[in-house]
Amino acid sequence: MFEIQEELSLDKKLEILSDAAKYDVACTSSGVDRRGQKGMLGNSCAAGVCHTFAADGRCVSLLKILMTNHCIYDCKYCKNRISNDVPRATFSPEEICNLTIEFYKRNYIEGLFLSSGIIQNPNYTMEKMCEALRMLRMEYHFNGYIHVKAIPGASEELLYSAGLLADRISINMELPTQASLEKLAPNKTMTNIIRPMNQISQTIASHRLAIGKSAKMERAGINQKLTHSIFGNTVDKIEGGSSLFLPAERKDRDLRRPFAAAGQSTQMIIGATDETDLELIRTTQSLYQSFDLKRVFYSGYIPINEDDSLPEIGTPVPLLREHRLYQADWLMRYYGFFAEELLSEKNPFFDQKLDPKCNWAIHHLENFPVEINKAPEEVLLRVPGIGPTSVKKIVSARRYGNVNFEMLKKMHVMLKRAQYFITCNGKMLYRTPIEENFIRNQLTDTEKVSVMKIEGQTVQYKQMSLFSDFGLKAGG
């Protein structure tokens, strides 16, 4: 299986194994603050650090690689599936360590994101991954950030080791229903994904309690001010099976590291199967509620394989849909919205032309306008164009006097959006009607530019083609 590996140079391996890893969207180095220590290399910053931005505009924060792209499975959407004829490579643990350490010292990265195709079986693969991470932590004294992919089906002992060695651990859900999994990832089962997710979340909670923290992960400060949010009460739990904790494996327990201090995350593929946006954000919500996940990532499906059960090669990546889902995810995590407020059975997809918050607001005009100088925080948070930071600034400024539009502008409130929904000292910015169609048209216009930015080169500004459309010469 590894016969060609010997001949590959390290940079060739890096090319193959970063290319194979790039479809995983998670690249954040966030979630845990850890000071540096003499004799070790690295620290960790809860806010995360982006070191550069790739040509697709995505932030690069971690050395994102697969340990190997050999795989015995045949997930239809994946480039590394066994039935594909692609160049294959495997890193040795030393190679993984050296790349991480040397990149880190040059300030290229915050740490390592290690995933892998499955060699021999899930246990063997996970064991090999742990071996590399153990070497990185114990022999290379690396104290920076590590995100590790848990291999579904790996033993509980190994998952426990992985969680102790890494800061974040994730199991990709990929597809939100058993039916979609059967169709596209025949070797995977929902139980094999949900069960370890549950165990990991319980183990994180027990480790947190043991060091005097709350069982649940910290959320953005603004959530503490919300009486009503998805993190409040845990209704709608996903059944995660009976066994609760992961058993500790001796050697890694001696590491005395917290278990996955930066929490757990997952990823879902968008657009390969026919789930609605409502189904996706409902699943997201229950994942947050049931397993206290730190993040749920969405990955717009990129057709790489010819397959009857998948969108054709060349089908555009659903970037705008992915963007709307992320916006909804933010609304649930930071703004106190519930999935059911954003979409309904009757209306199960997001309006592509309007962001979900504006869309919600124009359907609830009875709540507006709100007075900036009086409204409580949770009401301000629901105003389009006002985010958690602006809310904080507004509330702080109100302590010393009245707030006016000029000040809002300086606080980076997006008046273009907010103006239809607010008053300052009883007055609106302009005399505009509070009327659904009027506001919708205004906002759709404002949104056009950001829609174009997301769709990148596929959409052009109308003004630019004006001249050629009418056969005019610019400046002539």
Partner: protein, 250 residues
Amino acid sequence: MYIYTCEPNLEAMLSCIYDAWTSKRGHKNIKLMLEPVEQLTLFDEYIHVDADSEKVEKVMDAVNMKISPWFYRQLAYSSMAYEEDVLDNMYHCMILGFHHGPDALGMVQYADIMRHNEIRKRLGNEVNRFQEVLRFHQVGEVYIAHFEPKSRIAIALGPIFEDRMPSENFVIVDDIHKEAVVHHKDAHFYMYKLSDEELARLLQTEEENDSYTDMWKVFFDTIAIKERTNKKCQDNLFPMWARKHAVEMN
């Protein structure tokens, strides 16, 4: 108008504030500016102030004790900024601080406080940006990084990288303001003023690429998903001024 001027460093700035304050010429008739003063005006009187450790101490004590240590740290931080009016702004924020106490910095109803916040925010972004895009080159046992900030922020990067790599030797060189953070393995960093000759010698180190720089470039090119290429988005997130020393962009 009496215009007090000084060199752009914290000691000189605090001394300048001291002289302006004790001149009793009335806050309204006083302006403070950093040197070099670009455009001299005809009817104003310019008064140059040199750094003086006694004056520095007096201002530090007054702010720390009569307002608060936190307030002092905020002012000291903003003194790194390149903005022309930063010194004048520090002076006016201090006046407000003596009047209202440390809460003054939250009173955005005052134009001076709003301006202070603006400067702080921009400065914070500049520090964060260089924390991200600083690139070290290995030269023997030392890792050397060059950068070209608008503000004199090397001193803010010192503690950040000391925490990140406590047991490495490294030097962070500000090519514009000719100063460097010098860190020896397991020790505390210090600041160093560079002569032209030293700077020229240090500049050569950037030419030396090693195999890991090349591999980083391979990684950077491969990790982008071609079907999602979005140059505009990349340009927005990674402005040109920040790219100069980012090896992967060149």
